[in-house]
Amino acid sequence: MHIDWFVFFAQIVNLLILMFLLKKFLFGRIVAAIDAREAKIAARFAEADRAREEADRAAAVCDAKLKDLEARYEEMIDKARRDAEEYRERLLEKAREEVEFLKKRWIDAFRSERETFLMELRLLAGQQIYAVTRKVLKDLADVDLEERIAQILTERLMALDEEERRRFLSEEADEEEGRLVVVSTAHEIPEDVRRKVAEAIRRCLPEEVEVEYRQSEDVLGGWELRSDGHKIAWSMKDYIDAIEERFNAALHQEILER
């Protein structure tokens, strides 16, 4: 075992030099490179973390917005549905009202028309029946309808007892103005018939009464003797009423069928 002291110190110096050179060319550089890379990686991780945090935040914001939008969407849909329902109800109500109105108007118009029609019917029927009856009586039995009516009225007047006659010529009537009996007919009465009727009246009613003839459509092909508040009449009103009733029923039936 031999130690050469020069070599020994030379080795120490060599190692020190090696240490210096390796520090300069190896460890220093490599450590710096590793540290730089680690720093870069750390920076990248930090950046990635930050980016992820940002992304998370953005995602949270988006999520919140989405939820908000969904909520609003639902709300809007609900509102729209409610509005539509309300609108529909309103429209339906309006339509119903309109239908009601139209129906009412139609019914009113129909009633009015019916009234008019019936009125006309009544009038026409009255006239027609009167004319037909008159002609039939004349042709078949050689009887004058007016005369016959006048006769009937006279008979009725005659049939009245005292009490009834007095009541017919109202007691409350003014004495000075005289008693007025109005004879209403739908048609013109021939003069001789008028005279006969006037005579019959004066015969039946003891007091001096004035007889006045009036033409009126109300009596419908009949005769009417009217004093104050009382009347004696013969008319075809009942017959015509029956016809009208039948007609009315027929019309009503038709409406129901529709």
């Binding site: 070599v7 240490m19 390796l22 550089r29």
Partner: protein, 239 residues
């Protein structure tokens, strides 16, 4: 080619040049070669270092080595691993390079010379108090010699010397004996078996470099930190 004859125990005995007390022997020459290799290799590789993801193959190799050394040091000291890196790293790389080139015919590891291993051990011997004083202060460092009480002072001092001697002789003995064993085996069974021994030699060289560096680090760590903290590690790593 036989540089060191079988009867010569170390490359120190192969003297190439003498001028007064200046002696240039095979140990020095091979040391210079190793140094040149290490420095030139480092210089070439670290000339263009990349800090990006793409790293050259050789830079990767050096990074693996340096990171390995750093992590080994880091396992033993809690902080400031980089301050030991240059010393421990240089010692480790020098011993490793010296030992691994033994597969080249004609090459003799400088570490198979007691002079070199003694120089390495002496450096560790001085590095320990140097680091210890730097980290703990002179009083803090000296106090460690009187733990657990002053009676232990001589034992600590003896320990310092003996472990330095052990460092030097362990490395020298292992390397030198291996070379001798290979030389003898080559004479006895010239085929195949010496190759196996050479492979084994590479392993031994690696292990010895590791052991030397680790022990140096353990000694330094025990000096820079209190015994309570590193005592169990020291015991575990001490061979």
């Amino acid at each position: 080619m036989e540089v060191v004859a079988i009867h010569q125990i170390s490359p120190d005995q192969v003297i190439l040049f003498t001028w007064g007390f200046v002696t240039v022997n095979a140990t020095l020459v091979y040391t210079w070669l190793i140094m040149a290799f290490l420095v030139a290799g480092s210089y070439l590789v670290t000339g263009q270092l990349s800090t990006d993801r793409q790293v050259s193959r050789w830079q990767n190799v050096l990074e693996v080595i340096v990171s390995g050394i750093r992590s080994e040091i880091g396992d033993m000291v809690k902080e400031g691993a980089d301050s030991y890196l240059v010393f421990i790293g240089t010692v480790f790389l020098f011993i490793l390079a010296s030992n691994l080139f033994t597969f080249i015919p004609g090459y003799v590891a400088p570490t198979s010379s007691l002079t070199t291993t003694a120089a390495l051990a002496i450096m560790v011997f001085f590095a320990v108090p140097l680091y210890g004083i730097t980290k703990q202060g002179i009083l803090g460092y000296l106090k460690e010699y009187f733990q657990p009480n002053f009676i232990f002072f001589p034992f600590h001092v003896m320990g310092e010397f003996s472990r330095t001697l052990a460092l030097a002789v362990r490395l020298f003995g292992n390397l030198m004996s291996h070379e001798k064993v290979v030389a003898i085996l080559l004479a006895v069974t010239p085929l195949l078996f010496p190759v196996v021994m050479q492979v084994l030699g590479l392993l031994i060289g690696l292990i010895q470099a590791y052991i030397f560096a680790i022990l140096a680090m353990v000694y330094i760590a025990s000096a820079t930190q209190s015994h309570e903290e590193t005592g169990h590690e020291t015991n575990r790593n001490h061979k």
